[in-house]
């Protein structure tokens, strides 16, 4: 390989690479956020304590069974297959012809949601029971304690795992080329269709993937630090009136 050739290919095709990378990032960002929200919602519902009334108990049981099936299916099958099933299935079974971009978001989001649901559950159960009890003892409902006390801590705790999902999503969106989403892998494939320089063209793509995942990791780590707040606190002087 000559460095010259790599440079030439990049200069000839950079708008396509850029569009592909942009598409990859947009899909990954939106889907990771949506997936995290799905995971949080499922996590909150799954940890609702057993209700005293029979009707509510049954509803909760049904809902939780559906959630479990969802998590099992999407964690237990490859995303490339899920993409095919959802994209062609929605057309065949429900006569919904999804826009490829929308389909991509849906697929990656619900796939991420399945992983995040488990991560969130772990995050909630890792918060000591005592804080739940203290919240109940001052009269908070399950949802009040969740939103004011538990979830802020869960979100902080699952941030590293979410960052990890994000990185995985950047890489795994490449499978979406099977349904024709114009992300980075798809664009690279198109480029090689014209120049037949497979190695050099994909080498550039790998560099762009690495640049994206590396940058994202750094940004999120910085964000984690900021969330933790200062290490020290100031004593409030006697003279200060609140």
């Amino acid at each position: 390989m000559s460095f010259q050739l790599v440079k030439e290919i990049f200069l000839d095709n950079w708008p396509m690479y850029l569009r592909g990378a942009g598409m990859t990032i947009v899909i990954s960002v939106i889907s990771t956020i949506l997936g995290a929200i799905i995971g949080l919602l499922i996590g909150v519902v799954r940890t609702i304590p057993e209700s005293a009334t029979r009707g509510k108990r049954v509803i909760l049981k049904v809902v939780n069974t559906i959630f479990s099936a969802y998590v099992e299916y999407f964690r237990g099958t490859p995303m490339i297959v899920q993409a095919m099933v959802i994209y062609y299935g929605s057309a065949l079974l429900f006569d919904i012809h999804l826009n490829r971009f929308v389909a991509a978001i849906i697929i990656v989001s619900i796939n991420t949601g399945a992983y995040m649901a488990e991560i969130v559950r772990g995050g909630i159960t890792s918060i000591d029971e005592g804080q739940f009890e203290a919240a109940s003892a001052i009269g908070m409902t399950h949802f009040q304690s969740m939103f004011n006390i538990i979830l802020p801590q869960v979100i902080r705790n699952i941030l590293p795992a979410t960052a990890n999902e994000f990185v995985i999503n950047i890489k795994d969106t490449s499978v979406l080329n099977v349904i024709g989403v114009t992300e980075l892998f798809f664009q690279t494939k198109s480029i090689t269709g014209n120049n037949f320089k497979f190695f050099e063209s994909y080498f550039i793509a790998s560099g762009i993937y690495l640049l994206m995942t590396f940058t994202i990791t750094r940004i999120l780590r910085h964000f984690e630090k900021r969330l933790d707040g200062p290490q020290n606190y100031d004593l409030v002087g006697n003279q200060m009136q609140v």
Partner: protein
């Protein structure tokens, strides 16, 4: 005397382990009642049943004349009328000291932030933690955490304060600061129900001592009588072993 809590024939089992068997006792306004007894006798379970963290199997809990075990009672509102202090402090780790004391007032009682902060500061002063409002729980010592937990409960301005061994998880040198605060609260006329292994505190501060043994109230009376002249053999036995251990 105004009766705040009246516990009648309260029962609670975990599986086939009968932890509370027919408990009867009451707390009047302004009274300080200490519950003593050996480990596993059901003291924590009793407190947890009173604020419904555990669901009693039977009996009545009459609060200000109403049985709160009836189904039409708003449990959440009832719980705001009782302040609970736990052995393990259980502060909210995501919130600083001030917000630990305001979150319940704002979210549950619907007070404005200003009012909630003013009330929180008042009680943080009582426990001597008003200088630490910006600290997070992980930055405090055990004794400081417990004092904040007491302020958090007080800030809801409950009718009764329940304490479940508030000093048992503390290093010995921090026990004093928490007991001192509790003694001040007792002198302020607060109604308190305290599970404790601190016999000195029970003797000095309480109006009445309840001795629990194996799920029943074995003996109850004024501290003078319980500590100096216990009627029951098992009370004597318990006091002998605990006072020896210290």
């Amino acid at each position: 005397m105004e009766r705040v809590l009246d516990i009648q024939s309260l029962r609670k089992s975990f599986g086939n382990n009968e932890v509370l068997k027919n408990i009867n006792f009451s707390v009047d306004k302004g009274e300080v009642v200490c519950i003593i007894g050996s480990s596993g006798s059901g003291k924590s379970t009793l407190l947890r049943c009173i604020n419904l963290l555990e669901k009693p199997d039977g009996g009545k809990i009459i609060y200000n004349g109403r049985n709160i075990l009836e189904s039409n009672i708003n449990v959440y509102e009832y719980r705001t009328r009782l302040g609970m202090v736990f052995q393990q402090f259980n502060l909210f780790n995501n919130l600083n000291v001030l917000n630990n004391c305001t979150v319940g007032q704002i979210k549950v009682l619907g007070r404005s932030r200003e009012e909630a902060e003013e009330i929180a500061m008042k009680y943080l002063k009582v426990v001597g933690m008003d200088k630490y409002i910006n600290a997070k729980p992980r930055q405090l010592s055990g004794g400081q955490k417990q004092r904040v937990a007491i302020a958090r409960a007080l800030a809801m301005e409950p009718d009764v304060m329940l304490f479940d061994e508030p000093t048992s998880a503390l290093d010995p040198e921090m026990v004093g600061e928490v007991l001192k605060v509790m003694k001040e609260l007792a002198e302020m006329g607060l109604t308190m129900l305290v599970v404790t292994h601190e016999m000195g505190f029970a003797k000095e501060v309480s109006d009445r001592v309840v001795f629990m043994d194996k799920g029943v109230i074995a003996e109850e009376g004024e501290p003078e009588q319980i500590f100096n002249n216990p009627i029951q053999e098992r009370t004597r036995e318990f006091l002998r072993s605990t006072l020896q251990a210290v």
